[in-house]
């Protein structure tokens, strides 16, 4: 009876797991993600508006460059003191998608691998999680740039 059942895909069993396993509560996590993500964006926007209010001399495009910088620094700080992962536990994608999540994904492996040294630890592992995002982002921007160039020269 037990022979031949060691290694095989048992569709009936996989179906049973699907029935019995607890599911992610999508509505609850989505609402949490909406508010956490929204809150992070609000901070960015608020900083943007305050900058424009207090330093009228700055032109809007400079401010738009400063805002992400500030958010990245904030996220780095929160990651280092061990708060960002707690926000992430509640917010999920709401705290992963904004630029703060990107900062978190670079800083957290850097902290983790500090023990293996600067070169082989921090530098080698920093982009372990953010690496794919960077590669795909750069490839996508190059491709869209080429497409734009072709379209421009055609028209």
């Amino acid at each position: 009876m037990l022979a031949g059942m060691m290694y095989m895909e048992d569709q009936r069993y996989l179906e049973l797991i699907k029935q019995r396993a607890p599911k992610t509560r999508h509505l609850r996590t989505m609402i949490a993600a909406f508010f956490v993500g929204g809150f992070i964006c609000c901070i960015g926007q608020a900083f943007n508006d305050l900058c424009a209010y207090f330093f009228p001399a700055l032109n809007p495009s400079t401010i738009k460059q400063i805002v992400p910088l500030v958010l990245v620094v904030l996220a780095t700080l929160l990651t280092c003191i061990g708060i960002y992962d707690k926000i992430g536990e509640i917010g999920g994608a709401g705290s992963i998608i904004p630029i703060t999540g990107f900062a978190n994904s670079i800083i957290s492996p850097a902290i983790e691998h500090k023990r293996e040294g600067i070169i082989n630890g921090v530098c080698a592992n920093m982009f372990k999680i953010a690496g794919p995002v960077l590669v795909i982002g750069i490839v996508a921007s190059v491709l869209s740039g080429i497409i734009a160039l072709v379209l421009k020269s055609v028209t």
């Binding site: 037990l2 048992d10 996590t29 957290s108 999680i129």
Partner: protein
Amino acid sequence: MPASTIQLKSRVLIGAVATLAGPKESQGPLKKHFNKALRDDLLGLTSYELAESKIHESAIRYLLNKTNYMPQDIDLCIAGDLTDELYATNFAMRTLEIPFVGSFGACATYGAAIALAARIIDASVFKQRIICSVSSHFSTAERQFRFPLELGTQRTPLAQWTVTGAGAMLINKTEGRIRIESVTFGRVVDWGVKDANNMGGAMAPAAMNTMIRHFKDTRRQPRYYDLIITGDLGHTGALLLKQLMYERSYDLDQTNYTDCGVLIFDRETQKVEQGGSGPACSALVFNAYVYKKLLEGSIGRVLLVTTGALISKTSCLQKQSIPAIAHAVSFERI
């Protein structure tokens, strides 16, 4: 009796046990049963791997102190953990002058070590003493199998929490009141579960396979045991195992069945989703809780089925399913 289950001919006894539990574990429901509770899981060392190594070493030293043996009195130590190349265990053994065999069976290591040690003791004519020990650490396991600690990710409802701690057991022929009666080594079972978060689901068929072989070989029913306890299937895994056993006409609901991963944490307040996992999970629960109950005499016969998901980081990325194994050891009060 077929070779699948080995009934020990002589009296193989548990001499003593020791447990060291991490901070989260020592806030759980079993807190008052552990020998030592750690307040800090880094122990002031430079890395979590070294901390786990220290915890492992301390558990063995605690056991030696308890039994008044010197390291030279111990003939062999069979030990393991979850880290690559058994980092924690190998480094713990540097300072202990005990002959050592490293063993890896993921979270099933403890059962495998006990079963091996029991067989060696059973076959020996001399007075032999063997220590079985395992350790695991939440932070080393997270790094090994998952994401950096500070990364803001959400845990899935099927996730399990790797237990921080170490457990050690001395097995001999002369001292002790709990006997190891028979052992059933596991077979690798893989039913095609691919979700690395669903380890309970991957391990349940392996536990079922080993359990049924044990029951068939010994011609016993689950009712024979006062307690049947699996390693770290978690809440859902235990449910699945019950269902699988029920379909093969072994009703675990009729027996006192539970899971170490379910016992070690409080699911409601400690946010562990499915419960504990890791080799130290079954070691801590068995040594601290089940062994105590056996000594007290409130239970007489126990079947410990440690379960392990034999997953690796590479196999996971290569989209392979998760093979699993389970080893069963039957204990008896004498």
